[in-house]
């Protein structure tokens, strides 16, 4: 029996710049000092997690024309902090979110190849796209990209990066003192890319890194995003839902792989999930309720409501009823720099009015109900069981665990849930390989300089 059970993969998400992260907790530490990153990454490594994950946002979020001040604000540069973390960890993967719109492929390919060398093969890239002129105001080219072109650019960006990573042979460096040959093949690193988004040529500056290519993540549930993942990604970073919904997503995405000559194992589906643990189920539920109140303060509740109403509601009492005034469907959004969880304003407002009326909820109570609560709430046994069941049911390949509190929020999970999964033989007790590709059970990159040269004759 056991040999057919799919392996569980676990990873840790540094607490995000959003209201899931509870900065008001007495245990909450710095979100910017390096020591917080070290603490969390080391906890994740102690728990034998596959990787440590960082999100990114290239402009501070705004609401009503002002910088949003209620959530954690501020984060480090992704590449730089991951390179520093490589110094204080040994095995755990280092995964960074890097935007394909406000970067150039040569530079990003060079940075990931460097990070992969400097970490001994532990680099991963979560490729995200954006198009908004709001973020573009921080960059040379501004908001140059049409929304419909963003996956085109992302795909060509990634393909170009792969060409650069493939421009060196695996064992290019001979460094033979006698003959004076540092490399044998004078064309090592040479490339020539001509495409719709990029026309670049020259020599790539970084020899082939331990993983060949960093592990590639794709985040996003849209059809275009799923296809991008099936074609090009090693992992999907997704949202956690019910087992049924997970199975549908899993079947859909893994079903697309064969079109690209890939096996089901070649793409891992890893939803992000928050958790609250307790000694008993009731204890966990009580703690979850406390955290929920911390996450949805009165001002935060008004802010969520404003995103759907698209109006200044700062005069309303969060402990009072919903406003009588209707949402403004026509003005530009008052919220900038964030992805809305409620795209259809009118339908959402109607649904919320019905819910608030039937349950007699205040604005804040309603927001606690409709914005995403902790996904796993229970005893360590219950949470370990839920993780195991989701993977057994093939609703996902594992989870990216999101703590509420920086930097100690993962300790309890590492000390209680992980040992149970290990006891059951459902989670490894140590790393089996060196690289992140090893941890995730991914084969090497599908291309290399050698295969590209051979394959070019048969490629259509």
């Amino acid at each position: 029996m056991t040999e057919t059970l799919p392996k569980i993969h676990l990873a840790a998400h540094f607490p995000g710049v959003n209201n899931t992260t509870v900065w008001s907790d007495p245990e909450a530490g710095s979100h910017i000092e390096f020591s917080s990153f070290v603490r969390l990454a080391r906890t994740a490594e102690r728990a034998k997690f596959d990787f440590f994950f960082l999100a990114e946002g290239l402009r501070l979020r705004e609401q009503r024309g002002k910088i949003h001040d209620l959530d954690v604000v501020g984060r480090p540069d992704t590449f730089t902090v991951l390179a520093a973390l490589a110094a204080v960890t040994h095995r755990i993967g280092l995964s960074g979110t890097i935007n394909s719109t406000f970067n150039e492929p040569y530079e990003v390919a060079r940075q990931f190849a460097s990070l992969d060398h400097l970490s001994g093969g532990r680099a991963a890239w979560n490729v995200v796209t954006s198009w908004d002129a709001f973020t573009g105001e921080n960059f040379r080219r501004g908001g140059f990209l049409a929304q419909e072109d963003r996956y085109d650019r992302a795909q060509e960006f990634l393909h170009t990066a792969r060409e650069l990573w493939d421009s060196w042979s695996d064992d290019a460096i001979v460094a033979d003192r006698e003959s004076g040959r540092f490399v044998v093949d004078p064309t090592e690193g040479d490339f020539d890319h001509r495409g719709r988004q990029f026309t670049i040529s020259g020599r790539f500056g970084v020899p082939r890194s331990p993983q060949g290519h960093p592990v590639i993540f794709q985040a996003g549930d849209s059809d275009a995003g799923r296809e991008f993942a099936a074609a090009d990604a090693d992992c999907i970073f997704t949202r956690h839902g019910t087992i049924d919904a997970g199975q549908r997503f899993y079947d859909d995405v893994k079903g697309r792989l064969s079109r690209y000559g890939r096996r089901a194992d070649d793409l891992k589906i890893l939803p992000a999930v928050t958790f609250v643990l307790g000694e008993t189920e009731a204890d966990a539920a009580e703690r979850a309720a406390v955290i929920r109140r911390q996450q949805v303060s009165g001002p935060t509740a008004i802010l969520f409501l404003e995103q759907v109403w698209n109006r200044d509601l700062s005069g309303y009492d969060p402990d009072g009823p919903l406003p009588h005034i209707e949402p403004d469907l026509f003005s530009p959004s008052i919220s900038r720099g964030r992805v809305t969880a409620f795209p259809d304003q009118a339908a959402t407002a109607t649904r919320w009015r019905e819910l608030a009326a039937s349950k007699k909820l205040s604005i804040r109570q309603l927001m606690m109900e409709v914005t995403s609560p902790a996904s796993f709430v229970g005893t360590p046994f219950q949470v370990a069981t839920a993780i195991d069941e989701s993977v057994r049911a093939r609703a996902c390949d594992g989870f990216i665990v999101v703590p509420h509190v920086t930097p100690g929020g993962l300790d309890e999970f590492a000390d209680s849930v992980v040992p149970l999964l290990q006891e059951w033989g459902r989670f490894h007790t140590d790393y089996e390989g060196e690289t992140l590709r090893d941890h995730l059970g991914l084969s090497g990159p599908r291309s290399s300089k050698a295969s590209r040269l051979v394959g070019s004759e048969v490629r259509v």
């Binding site: 900065w23 008001s24 910017i32 000092e33 390096f34 946002g57 290239l58 501070l60 002002k66 910088i67 001040d69 209620l70 604000v73 501020g74 984060r75 480090p76 540069d77 590449f79 730089t80 902090v81 390179a83 520093a84 490589a86 110094a87 204080v88 406000f102 970067n103 150039e104 040569y106 530079e107 060079r110 940075q111 460097s114 990070l115 060398h117 400097l118 105001e137 921080n138 960059f139 040379r140 460096i173 460094a175 003192r177 004076g180 040959r181 540092f182 490399v183 093949d185 004078p186 690193g189 670049i200 040529s201 020259g202 020599r203 500056g205 970084v206 020899p207 890194s209 001002p299 935060t300």
Partner: protein, 396 residues
């Protein structure tokens, strides 16, 4: 120690297996490890052990060498290098007192990204970070980005684009610095009663609009530990001296004699006056390539051996010193009298010339009461005698 600046500061410029192109062929060179973290960590630790004030880490986008604007087909040179900012970040947690200045290019890159990267280097090193701003002039590097042409192509229309690149670099450094100040110290308030994590009145749009780019701000990264990490510029040509005067803390110059050192210090001061520089004056560091040995002949033999492998006499933009550590110290203390804050030594081959600096040059300086016997852990700014600057956006 009496006054703060009675002794010369010593920096070491790290580049591959050393600055001589054939250095990778030395018996003690580690050419197979140039892309391993441990190689760089050990070099940084060696420099720190020797009380070196800072290391710099060379960088360029095109792998050296480039010949006539195109990739060079020769196979007898070190090919490739790692991103210097990431190497700097990788070595920072393994060191505790040495300054770390990677090269970052200003020509094809985003000031927003570079600003937060160096701010983050400053966080992970607890106040020891900075960068050396470098322009990119070559067609070969322009071709890697595909968005504009190099200097050679630009000259056809009669413009002087290299001046433009330095102008752009000055705007770039200006934006990087404004972004470092775009969060005031203490902007993070964590005020539970009002639910506010930050006091947004202490965050500032920089609203920079220039000829080359516009940047709104604020940074996504809070103000780094040093407030303003160190910015350095290597200056050979007049626009580089002007760039340094406008935006840098340190300037690296390349005199070949004591008189020339005096003249270059004068040029630095003239440029400071002409751009009406505010605040601390530039600290002038003299770059020297060094081949060192206890016996002068052995140092010359080694350089000669490397030159034979190269097929020509190695020359550099900087003065090439070949001789004993004691003779080098004589030179340093002699040239220092011309108003030089310190020296950045470029090891001809590593690890040998780095170890000669840490084991012989610095102890010799110490024996002559011209270098401290120990350093506490401090920020790079304070190590260089620079104050932590006030925030330009803060209401006083």
């Amino acid at each position: 120690m009496t006054a703060a600046f009675t002794y010369p500061r010593i920096g070491v410029a790290l580049d591959g297996a050393g600055w001589h192109p054939a250095s990778w062929r030395e018996p003690d060179a580690r050419p197979h490890e140039l892309f391993d973290a441990n190689y760089w960590v050990e070099l940084a630790q060696e420099a720190e052990w020797g009380l070196v004030d800072f290391i710099s880490i060379e960088d360029s986008f095109a792998p050296i060498p480039v010949r006539r604007g195109a990739p060079d087909p020769r196979t007898d040179r070190v090919r490739g290098r790692l991103d210097a900012v990431l190497v700097a970040a990788r070595v920072a947690p393994h060191t505790s007192s040495i300054g770390i200045l990677p090269v970052a290019t200003t020509t094809h890159t985003e000031p927003f990204h570079v600003s937060k990267a160096i701010a983050t280097l400053d966080f992970v090193s607890e106040g020891r970070g900075g960068f050396q701003a470098r322009i990119s002039t070559s067609e070969a590097e322009a071709g890697l980005f595909g968005r504009r042409q190099g200097v050679a192509a630009g000259r056809a229309d009669g413009s002087v684009p290299v001046d433009d690149l330095f102008d752009e670099a000055a705007d770039f450094v200006n934006v990087v610095r404004r972004l470092w100040d775009s969060w005031e110290d203490g902007a993070e308030i964590r005020d539970a009663p009002t639910g506010r994590f930050i006091d947004r009145d202490k965050l500032h749009y920089i609203d920079f609009e220039g000829k080359w780019f516009s940047v709104k701000g604020p940074s996504i990264t809070p103000r780094p530990p040093q407030g303003q990490p160190i910015v350095a510029v290597l200056a050979h040509v007049p626009p580089a001296f002007k760039l340094a005067a406008r935006g840098a803390d340190l300037v690296f110059v390349t005199p070949t004699s004591k008189d020339e050192a005096a003249a270059l210090v004068e040029e630095v001061r003239t440029n400071e006056a002409s751009v009406q520089r505010q605040g601390d004056p530039l600290e002038v560091f003299v770059d020297l390539v060094v081949f060192l040995d206890q016996e002068s002949e052995r140092a010359e033999d080694r350089k000669g051996r490397l030159d034979a492998l190269l097929g020509r006499t190695y020359q550099s933009d900087a003065h090439v010193f070949t001789g004993t550590p004691s003779a080098l110290v004589d030179l340093l203390l002699d040239w220092q009298t011309e108003g030089v804050a310190g020296f950045r030594l470029r090891p001809g081959s590593m690890p040998r010339d780095l170890e000669a600096i840490t084991h012989e040059v610095i102890p010799t300086l110490q024996d002559r009461s011209a270098f401290p016997r120990h350093h506490g852990d401090a920020t790079l700014r304070s190590r260089l005698g620079l104050q932590r600057p006030a925030n330009r956006y803060a209401m006083t």
